[in-house]
């Protein structure tokens, strides 16, 4: 079966020669459909850089990334943008909601990137937010939401275009234990119900139990890759 995302010997460095910093060093991995993979490692280990490359936001210095079997290094910026909007959902550590938009507008906005029908996007956004227990917060601005609610809105945004993959960068870092458990449960639920593949970059050992597989990274290199029962 074709992996949903595949990284083949990818490296990424920043800066010029002499002061060059290698953030990711010859990493290869692949993730199948419906798999929940966690990238574990301390801060500065290269998790986020790897996640950004897997999410087609950052081009690798060397190596190849394939999304659903398609080599992405040859794609233009516009094609990459479309690929991200259609296939990949993102959840960020700081939630990254647009402050001037209400919860449903934040969710529906990504439909605009694909020129989806606005009325459909409205009903779909409302439905997802209701499923996440945010029915009473649909028309609120982010400033009126708690951290847990913001993260759930961000998660709804990641799901609204029915992506094949969700990439989450430290999704529980700013949450209390109750909201952390809730988000982890939502992630697992998505894997189960929507057959979505999820890659979470985290250093939070407390959410490890949700993973199907854990990859450990240190100094940009993969040090461990093992199956893990949820």
């Amino acid at each position: 079966m074709t992996p949903v995302i595949e990284a083949v010997d990818v490296s990424r460095s920043f800066g010029e020669s002499g002061t060059e910093v290698v953030a990711v060093n010859h990493v290869s991995l692949s993730i199948g459909a419906g798999e929940l993979l966690m990238l574990m490692g301390p801060s500065g280990s290269g998790k986020t850089t790897l996640l950004a490359m897997l999410g087609c936001i950052l081009r690798p210095s060397s190596g190849h990334i394939r999304v659903q079997g398609k080599e992405v290094s040859t794609l233009s910026s516009k094609e990459l943008a479309r690929l991200r909007a259609e296939t990949i959902g993102f959840v960020f550590q700081g939630f990254n909601l647009l402050s001037a938009l209400t919860a449903w507008e934040n969710v529906a906005l990504v439909g605009d990137f694909l020129a989806r029908h606005p009325q459909n996007m409205h009903s779909r956004s409302v439905e997802i937010l209701e499923n996440m227990g945010l029915g009473h917060r649909i028309y609120h601005l982010p400033e009126a939401l708690s951290a847990g609610e913001k993260q759930r809105v961000a998660f709804a945004r990641a799901l609204v275009n029915r992506p094949r993959i969700i990439l989450a960068d430290e999704p529980t870092a700013n949450l209390d234990s109750e909201n952390r458990d809730r988000v982890v449960s939502l992630l697992r639920q998505s894997v189960k119900e929507r057959d979505v593949s999820i890659i979470i970059a985290t250093h939070d050992e407390r959410i490890l139990q949700a993973a199907d597989r854990v990859i450990r990274i240190e100094d940009g290199q993969m040090t461990d890759d093992r199956k893990h029962g949820p």
């Binding site: 986020t48 996640l51 950004a52 999410g55 936001i57 950052l58 910026s77 516009k78 943008a81 479309r82 690929l83 991200r84 909007a85 259609e86 990949i88 993102f90 960020f92 550590q93 700081g94 990254n96 647009l98 402050s99 001037a100 938009l101 209400t102 449903w104 507008e105 529906a108 906005l109 990504v110 605009d112 990137f113 694909l114 020129a115 029908h117 606005p118 009325q119 409205h122 009903s123 409302v126 649909i138 028309y139 945004r157 960068d169």
Partner: protein
């Protein structure tokens, strides 16, 4: 109290939307039609029928929506800029025309207005004023009315606005990021709009003054009606001193192609009354024929009906000149050491830096040294049998005088004016343009910088560069649209003020200036986005990962 507010609201509606808006639209449309005549070759009957149909359907749509607002919403329409004049609706109305779009009253009104323009046969109203109004209404609704409705009806309105389009059913009715950003940054938005309005006012004002001044400086030349002007050899404008022998008039009259000729005196002099000094251009004209005399009279003594009825010791003064010196008909005033009775006022006779006074030619000839032997200019009317150029050649050959057509003389005067005024006015226009562009440019740029991470997030989530540029451009166009509209309204007011209250100065705001100002606004909008767009073009979507 409720009844009073309902009546007050109805009066405001009637004055604003029943009188003022149609009047302004028709006036602006007419100005555009005059400045840019457009013949569409559409059968008049068809355009009349289409116009009446549009008026009827627009009015019906509007009235139906109004009826539902009153019956189901228990409220009225008059809420302007969040000021509730009449009682507002307490229930959200979503039936009837409100199930088709959210603002059927506005759509019906604009449809009827477009119909009105069709019946009038005014492409300016239909093609420019109505779309411009639609845009302004759109911006107003987004920034004022919809946030108020959202506040009043909460989730019900959000759900309704997500379900029903604003005006037209569309597949691309996007989440209005640009509007939301502007609404969230209200202070910045207000500063931008004020900056734009000021710069547009500056541009509009300078252009109007230039146009008014150009018209002023040639007002006498334009109104005499003479086709050719003959002057002392070497003179080619109406400012330099000219002396023309009296017998030249007779010689010119005998030339082939001449209908008639009239000698006039045109002399600059200084009028001083109670230490108030004015430069006056005294015209001595033939009161028997009226040639070269005033063309429009204001307040006069009872016996003065027109240019022919001026007595030997009487003078007609420019109205602004008389006002400046506090003179009334019947007062006495001195020219060339001789006392004259002010017989009345002349209109449209204020020129740049001076005003006109009209005296009988024979009186002037007695008062001026050498006046019995010469005039200063000869006005020539052609009978059309030969070309003006040929006639000019004949005049030169026969009398040795310089001769110019009216248009050429007027052009020389405009050029003369331009030599000292144009650089000043151009500098003003450029300054207005720069102030506007820089104001919007800086506010947009800082707005982009403040939301840089949000733009980065959108890019990471799959927005293309053009999607992000679109947001910036929309913000710019919205600010520009409102600022330009405000600036133009202020420009019209400034225009009225100058013409009414500033003696000696004329501003002329017409369709071409309106279009030029609008174009300047559009160019400002595009230019001002250059810096923010450049910044966005370098936006790294990794920005989204930065906490």
């Amino acid at each position: 109290m409720r009844t009073f507010r309902i009546i007050l609201g109805a009066c405001v509606d009637l004055v604003l939307f029943g009188v003022f808006v149609p009047w302004a639209a028709v006036r602006a449309g007419r100005m555009l039609d005059t400045a840019y005549p457009l013949s569409l070759n559409i059968n008049r009957h068809i355009s009349d029928i289409a116009g009446i149909a549009a008026i009827a359907s627009g009015a019906a749509w509007l009235l139906w929506a109004w009826f539902l607002l009153v019956r189901d919403g228990h409220g009225y329409l008059t809420e302007l800029f969040r000021m509730e004049i009449s009682p507002v609706t307490d229930r959200l109305v979503t039936s009837g025309p409100f199930s088709v779009h959210r603002h059927p009253v506005c759509v019906g009104y604009l449809l009827a207005l477009a119909g009105f323009g069709m019946v009038m046969g005014s492409p300016g109203v239909v093609a420019v004023c109505v779309p411009l109004l639609l845009y302004l209404v759109y911006v107003y609704l987004r920034l004022f009315e919809e946030p108020a409705l959202r506040k009043r009806f909460g989730q019900d309105y959000e759900a309704y606005s997500g379900r029903v389009p604003m005006f037209f059913p569309s597949r691309r009715n996007r989440v209005p990021v640009a509007f939301r950003n502007l609404h969230a940054d209200r202070i910045r938005f207000t500063v931008t709009v004020a900056g734009v309005a000021f710069s547009v006012l500056l541009i509009c004002f300078q252009l109007s003054v230039l146009k008014g001044t150009q018209a002023q400086i040639t007002t006498y030349i334009d109104h005499t009606g003479a086709h050719i002007w003959a002057m002392q050899k070497g003179v080619d404008d109406f400012v330099a001193t000219s002396v023309v022998p009296r017998e030249s008039v007779g010689a010119i009259e005998k030339l082939k192609g001449v209908q008639r000729a009239a000698g006039i005196y045109a002399i600059y002099t200084l009028l001083e009354i109670n230490k108030v000094k004015s430069r006056v251009y005294v015209i001595g004209y033939d009161t028997r024929t009226g040639d070269g005399g005033p063309w429009k009279l204001g307040k006069t003594l009872p016996h003065v009906k027109d240019a022919h009825s001026l007595g030997h010791d009487e003078v007609l003064l420019d109205e602004n000149l008389a006002r400046r010196h506090g003179l009334q008909p019947g007062d006495r005033v001195s020219f060339f050491g001789h006392s004259f009775t002010v017989a009345g006022f002349t209109l449209e006779t204020t020129s740049i830096g001076s005003q006109y006074a009209f005296l009988p030619r024979e009186t002037v000839s007695r008062l001026l040294p050498g006046g019995r032997f010469a005039f200063t200019h000869v006005l020539v009317w052609s009978n059309g049998n030969i070309s003006d150029q040929e006639l000019i050649r004949h005049i030169g050959e026969k009398t040795g005088l310089s001769a110019l057509t009216r248009d050429a003389l007027a052009a020389n005067m405009r050029e003369f004016l331009g030599m000292f005024m144009l650089p000043l006015l151009t500098a003003g226009v450029v300054m207005g343009f720069l102030v506007g562009s820089i104001t919007i440019g800086i506010t947009l740029y800082t707005a982009v910088l403040e939301r840089f991470r949000e733009y980065g997030t959108m890019k990471a989530l799959g927005a293309t560069g053009w999607f992000l540029y679109g947001i910036v451009l929309k913000q710019s166009l919205i600010s520009l649209g409102i600022g330009t509209a405000m600036g133009l309204v202020l420009g019209v007011l400034a225009n009225q003020f100058i013409n009414q209250w500033v003696p000696g100065m004329t501003a002329r705001l017409d369709g071409s200036i309106t279009v030029q100002t609008l174009l300047a606004g559009l160019v400002m909008a595009v230019l001002s986005t250059a810096l923010p767009m450049w910044r966005l073009s370098r936006l790294d979507p990794m920005e989204a990962f930065r906490s």
